[in-house]
Symmetry: C2
Subunit: 376 residues, 2 copies
């Protein structure tokens, strides 16, 4: 993997870079839509390309349980299975093992857990996480980490960071395939010294990229931004930084300013399925009765397929009628919105106008949020 | 509307014709996918065009209840609302009023019923059915008819036929818009003389097309084919015949042989959502474990988007994981299958080889059905 910084912000740590993978290059800051089970819900690979998606995230935990990584490997890997020929990042399964599975027991070797699907017993340790990710064949893969709850006791997090470091080393040592790029995941809860410890441990191992895990768990914006700022300062500038599971457009802009290059979140697709749409003026709840006979598109300024064809009235009708097309058209719009947002962010960095962009964006969002409140 | 017969079968009553509407022409025998609530479930208008759909059916009852025909009229009619610029046929609402609504009371004036959505009270009579269909703006519209249950008492059906005839006359008289073509619906249960009475009554009124209603309600293949045969013999040869709600590929081939020109059915889309796929060798249940790692397409001979891209293994995975993309890819395949089936039927009529086609088709289906049984 290549990582080349092309533009730096004069005021913030923000930058525009290019990441080159064996399956093509993309510019950062980048947003990765989530294809949890080998599908970005309701959309085809062609549609993802069309709205500007360059890299997807897929969840190791889900694909390990169903249909199984061996099945996917036999079928030529995840790219062939889901017919997405661009880059894929797979997470390590750590996050889902800790958030979704039942009756889990953590030891220094890994995690024993029961499947959230059928209660079956499974064990995943760092070597297994690597073997599964190698079978899936993602272009960027992640170390196996322990995600501690929030808030968490200092002593527990301290032990957990040691475990995460140990697991990261095992992942690095057991990685057997070329062409896959391994990122290390910094943990440490909200404790400055533990984040520092975790970051230094991982930097020592010289990963090709670094992720910030264990954030967006309820800690609040100030705390999150503090942790991001403190941690990024310890990571090598010439490596990409990936903030896992974040998030809202405003959170992404904050994090970009702090130096983050990569993002993923289920928000655009999950919101789409809940009828919440992103617009230049803030969020819109398409189920609102005011849209019953509104023949305007979601956002007059949006160039997506949905906005170029369908009215709010039709989209509201599809949503109220629980039509499958609703989830699709809403997802196309929201992902397009995120892709355009990242493009505008990159543009602002290139022009060294990130502050101006951020101020204008937050002002438009404030209007939008008031607008949303009024709606309900 | 123009109806021009181009080819006639020498052995059967089957024919290939062209129906010209204000929104374009299409060849018959034709199959109309069902866009119940203004959407063929999960698909865009572009996808429908791409798989060869030329005319859609939409349900008056559903659109009357939600979002309401007045709303759709205000937004420019159903074509503008759902962005389908080809022909649309709307049913009269009769069938759904009798099959879906609650606590209905039939009188000579119409039907008082409660909405299946919220229990609200509504009344639809023949004039209302016309007003609603004129507001929706379909290109082919239907008279309001009473659908009797099966089996039904002779005396009840006799009275019902009188009512359906009376309503048909009111529909004809209250029709106020040009450009919309009105079809009359023949009822009469399974009683030969009542079907005859109904057919003669309607033929007297000189509708532009005739539908056979009240079939595919559990009467069995032999009875259905007898009723179709007896009724079509009484209808003018130079008008199209539409068999409502039928059906399975083999039923369609039977009906085409008896002289039917138009069909609609939820089967291809409903089966798609249940994981039942049509193939050249019969039906396939994609959830079957045998497809876990099967890298072949649903049907090697199929040229649809789904078959050209995705494996049975991926489609099984999407189905088992309840992914929204599953319903979509399956629907594309099944509608494509139906469009191709109709094309092959038209081709066989043009070559005057319908019997050969029918024999070969039924033989392939018999294999297919055995194959299906073996699967479960």
């Amino acid at each position: 993997m290549d990582f080349t910084v092309h533009h730096k912000c004069s005021r913030y740590r923000a930058r525009v870079a290019e990441i080159g993978t064996r399956r093509g290059a993309f510019e950062t800051p980048v947003f990765m839509p989530v294809g949890t089970q080998g599908s970005v819900k309701s959309l085809t690979p062609e549609e993802l390309k069309e709205v500007g998606v360059r890299i997807l995230l897929a969840n190791t935990y889900h694909l390990y349980l169903r249909p199984g990584h061996k099945v996917i490997e036999k079928l030529g890997g995840l790219h062939a299975f889901m017919k997405w020929d661009g880059p894929i990042l797979t997470d390590s399964g750590g996050y889902q093992v800790f958030s979704l599975s039942q009756l889990r027991t953590v030891s220094d070797e890994g995690v024993l857990f029961r499947s959230h699907l059928d209660g079956s017993r499974h064990f995943i340790g760092p070597k297994d996480a690597m073997a599964i990710q190698e079978a899936l064949g993602g272009d960027i893969i992640m170390t196996f980490d322990e995600c501690v709850p929030y808030p968490a006791d200092y002593e527990y997090v301290k032990q957990s960071v040691k475990r995460t470091t140990r697991w990261a080393r095992i992942c690095l040592e057991s990685k057997s395939k070329k062409g896959q790029t391994l990122f290390g995941i910094v943990q440490g809860g909200m404790y400055r010294d533990l984040r520092e410890q975790s970051a230094l441990d991982l930097v020592d191992m010289e990963f090709e990229g670094y992720a910030l895990g264990g954030l967006s768990v309820g800690e609040g914006r100030e705390t999150r931004n503090r942790v991001i700022r403190e941690t990024i300062g310890l990571l090598p500038e010439k490596k990409p930084v990936y903030l896992m599971g974040v998030g809202m457009p405003e959170d992404i802009i904050d994090a970009v300013s702090l130096g983050v290059d990569m993002f993923d979140c289920v928000l655009p697709t999950r919101n789409a399925r809940n009828g919440t749409l992103f617009t230049g003026a803030g969020r819109m709840s398409i189920r609102n009765a005011r849209y019953l006979d509104d023949d305007r598109p979601i956002d007059e300024a949006c160039g997506c397929y949905t906005c170029s064809r369908f009215s709010r009235a039709y989209l509201r009708h599809l949503y109220m009628a629980r039509e499958l097309l609703s989830y699709r058209l809403n997802s196309i719009h929201n992902i397009y919105y995120y892709m355009r947002l990242m493009e505008r962010i990159r543009c602002a960095i290139k022009e060294d106008k990130l502050k101006e962009f951020r101020d204008a964006f937050l002002a438009s969002q404030r209007n939008g949020l008031e607008h949303s409140l009024e709606e309900h």
